[in-house]
Amino acid sequence: MKFSYSLIKEIVPNLPGKTKFAEELAMKSFETDEISGDMMDIKITANRWGDASGHEGIAREAAAIFGLHAIPVKKTSLAQVKRKLGIQVAKGSDCYRYVGLLAELRRKRTTPSWMKKYLRVCGIKPINPVVDALNYVMIEIGQPMHAFDADKIKGDITIRKAEKGEKILTIDGGQYELGEKDTIIADDAQALAIAGIKGGKAAEITRSTKRIIIEAANFNPVSVYRTSKRIGLETDASRRYGHGMSSEKAKSGMERAVRLLTEICFLKPIAIADKYEVKEPKKFIKYDAERFQKITGVAVSKNQAAIILTKLGFKMRDDMAQVPAERIDISIFEDLVEEVIRIYGLNEIKAVSPVISIVPVHDDQMIIYRERVKKAFTGIGFDEIISYSFADYSPNAPEIANPISQDKAFMRTNLTRGLDEAIEKNKRVFSEIKIFEFGKVFDGVGKEHWSLAAAVKEKTDQFPLRILRGAVEEISWNMGIGDAEFVPEGKKLIVKAGKTRIGEVSVSADGERAFFEANAEEMMKKSEGEFEYEPVSPYPSVMRDVSLWLSDKTQVGELFEAINTVSGTDLNDVDLLDYYPDHENARIGVTLRFVFQSSKRTLTEAEVNVWMDKFGAVLGAKKGVEIR
């Protein structure tokens, strides 16, 4: 919010220079940027609009920070205005207080130049003396004000909820259709203003206006906020009301406005109405110096605290602090602690080691698991990718109501697509890509799980699928899954641990990209077992290689299936030693290495020969397989 340094200085005459003031204010009150000239940008926090959205409030902060005196803003009491103005506040209208004053403008003058200057610094364009003075009251003390041309009003003023479909044309030419939840100021004929947001054209002040009705009001902040959001109209007034403020300010706003307008236009008050619908209780909070120290770790004497609070507008009586009405943000002791410590100096807090009973650090299981998996993947040369959680449409993907762009309107349901995109981005730089990601994917609104995915991009003669599958085998083994299986299903391989499906492996149509993705939570459940020691066989192993031709329709997996049908041998392992497509003859050359080993004795040539004959028989019997 824009503020004028010199206007603050008018209220606190001994205010230090602008830079020094800005620095201290930034430490003790609000983020502050010094802008060129007289202007300062002060970021009023959302809880402080009620008291600090005007220069008076900032001046109060300054007085407390520097221990200076603040001159009260001059007002004109309206106690002598006896005639009652006809104003009704309808039940359920969300109007907390409405002060209305009918007055005559006895002389037409122009806005004083000092007022115009301050308005401009705060980013408000001067319009005419009445509007300018009311805007000035808003920037000065924070109370939004409005005025109607009294002679354009038909009958009494009523504050009520709009009727469904009720229309209003606002001063700036906007047309809005209102509903039963929106509060309006109306006369007997029509809506005159959208309460707390914008005035209407119907009773707008013009050069020829002779009599005005000045409004200083307060409304339910939620109501103003909702209406403003719904109709898409935010104003200086609606922002202030929307944050919430004290109804006490309505009266001071009116008194200040009358004072200014009397000076400028020789205003003559005629009749007044003060509809104070929702009274505000006085708030008292007991100050407890001991608890203050327990919370901040700093000892501040009762007296020091009382001085600070008094400067901030609190009335102190012994340990009791009466909260100033405009401080709607203060309701509990901790709020007082903040007031005192920030003005006293947050940097007076010295670092003190906490005294605790230690407990074993107990990280979530998934955190530990994830770190291990990531380490295992990088250990075998895979780089980690972190990609966006957003995706474009896919079936069952949860949809974002307000996406940043249409291609990011859904939540990702898998990580594979992100890895594919990462390959696409990197393929020009790296010929061989091995990547993985461990991240959340989304199964529905409010449903998500950890997923693990990996991808390999390589030339087809390097068999990316084999590299990936080997990596998955290694990772599974590393992570305590001893029985990972790869079961073909259509064009994919289903990865199983025991009977549980944990993920799948697939390959792109051109064979250059292979992908693995698994439900990491399922994987973790399968990983919990520890391996037990198995003694290494002291007896030598025997190896036999078998070379075959496969028709190009036959898959290597079928060979392994056939081998598995033979039982009663000491077959320990079968490795794929060689695999090369012979496209000319539409066949594939394959060499398998059989490894036999017994844990009980040295195997003899003769028995291994017998077993190899069996394997030879089952392989040779398969269609499309020819033993070389």
Binding site: L346, I404, N426, V445
Partner: protein, 332 residues
């Protein structure tokens, strides 16, 4: 002392040998079946008394092993002559994979806080409105909620469409994890939570829609802002590996802390850097999870993980982290 002599002589013989033939001759000299000296010694054992056997047997055996080893070693050496490895060849690099810098930063953060007895916990990325806002004392229909530009989920069920049931969003901070943890655990404790968060904003060098946050929470009987200053200074000192780390607080506002502060850090003599928000947990938040605020108090803080990494590694653009650019990943 016969053994010593043999040991010495055999050593000299092996040393002098310059060809495979010479080594073969030495082997016969000592281990030949007929005249081998060691063989002869071994044979003589059988004529000895039990006591002598016990004493000399192991000595002879040792001598045998020693000489055999020397002969074998020399033999290998002679065989390899002329086939030495060129030890000046450049290394052939075995590349290990690289963790994304966010993961590395998170691991480091967890290590440091673990060393101060903080446990790491996690929560969902798609969160209920209640946990992201209401439970944290962020009122509905108040501009304070606009401090967090939020991605809302489209309701998926008919019930949710009518505005009944839970409303979901992408968590705008890791603070909801605090609430979820406190609902299930009793104080005292100290925890951190790291994870992905989301903000609806235009991206630039310092803003991302997807980013990572570090959340911390410590609750006890008398955990104070002074304790927070200690913990966070210690963290920065370790994280930035700097000797002089200064921390300062600026007044701030968060609905879930009271008092609230902004935390700035200064490394050596550089300028003050904004790190994030913190404060004493608001009594309403403690009440919302069923704690009695007169019995328990503590601090909470929230920092950007990328921001920590950006400062530590001098990274110019936050968008690099999730760019998927492997040239970036492989640098760390």
């Amino acid at each position: 002392m016969e053994f010593e002599e043999i040991r010495k002589r055999a050593g000299e013989d092996v040393e002098k040998a310059a060809t495979a033939e010479e080594i073969a001759a030495i082997r016969i000299k000592y281990f030949g079946r007929k005249q081998g000296e060691i063989n002869a010694l071994l044979k003589s054992l059988k004529d000895m008394s039990e006591a002598e056997k016990r004493e000399l047997g192991p000595q002879i055996q040792n001598l045998k092993n020693e000489i055999e080893k020397a002969i074998n070693f020399k033999e290998e050496e002679l065989k390899a002559e002329g086939k030495e490895t060129d030890i000046t060849l450049p290394g052939k690099r075995t590349e290990s994979g690289h963790l994304n810098l966010i993961t590395q930063t998170e691991n480091e953060i967890r290590r440091i806080f673990g060393s101060m007895n903080f446990s790491a916990i996690e929560g969902p990325e798609m969160e209920e409105e209640y946990y992201n806002f209401d439970a944290l004392n962020i009122p509905p229909d108040h501009p304070a909620r606009e401090m967090w530009d939020t991605f809302w989920m489209k309701p998926s069920s008919a019930k949710a469409m009518e505005g009944r049931g839970k409303k979901y969003l992408l968590r705008t901070h890791t603070s909801p994890v605090q609430i979820r943890y406190m609902e299930k655990h009793n104080p005292p404790f100290q925890i951190i939570s790291l994870g992905k968060t989301f903000r609806y904003e235009a991206t630039d060098a310092t803003h991302e829609t997807n980013f990572y946050q570090l959340e911390g929470l410590m609750i006890g009987r008398d955990v104070s802002l002074a304790n927070f200053k200690f913990v966070i200074t210690e963290f920065f000192r370790q994280f930035f590996s700097e000797k002089t780390v200064k921390v300062r607080f600026r007044s701030s506002y968060f609905p879930f802390t009271e008092p609230s502060v902004e935390v700035d850090v200064r490394l050596d003599d550089s300028k003050w850097l904004e790190m994030g928000g913190a404060g004493m947990v608001h009594p309403k938040v403690l009440k919302n999870v069923g704690y009695n605020p007169t019995d328990w108090q503590g601090f909470a803080f929230g920092f950007g993980v990328e921001r920590l990494a950006i400062i530590k590694h001098k990274i110019p653009d936050i968008r690099l982290f999730e760019s998927g650019d492997l040239r970036f990943t492989k640098k760390f």
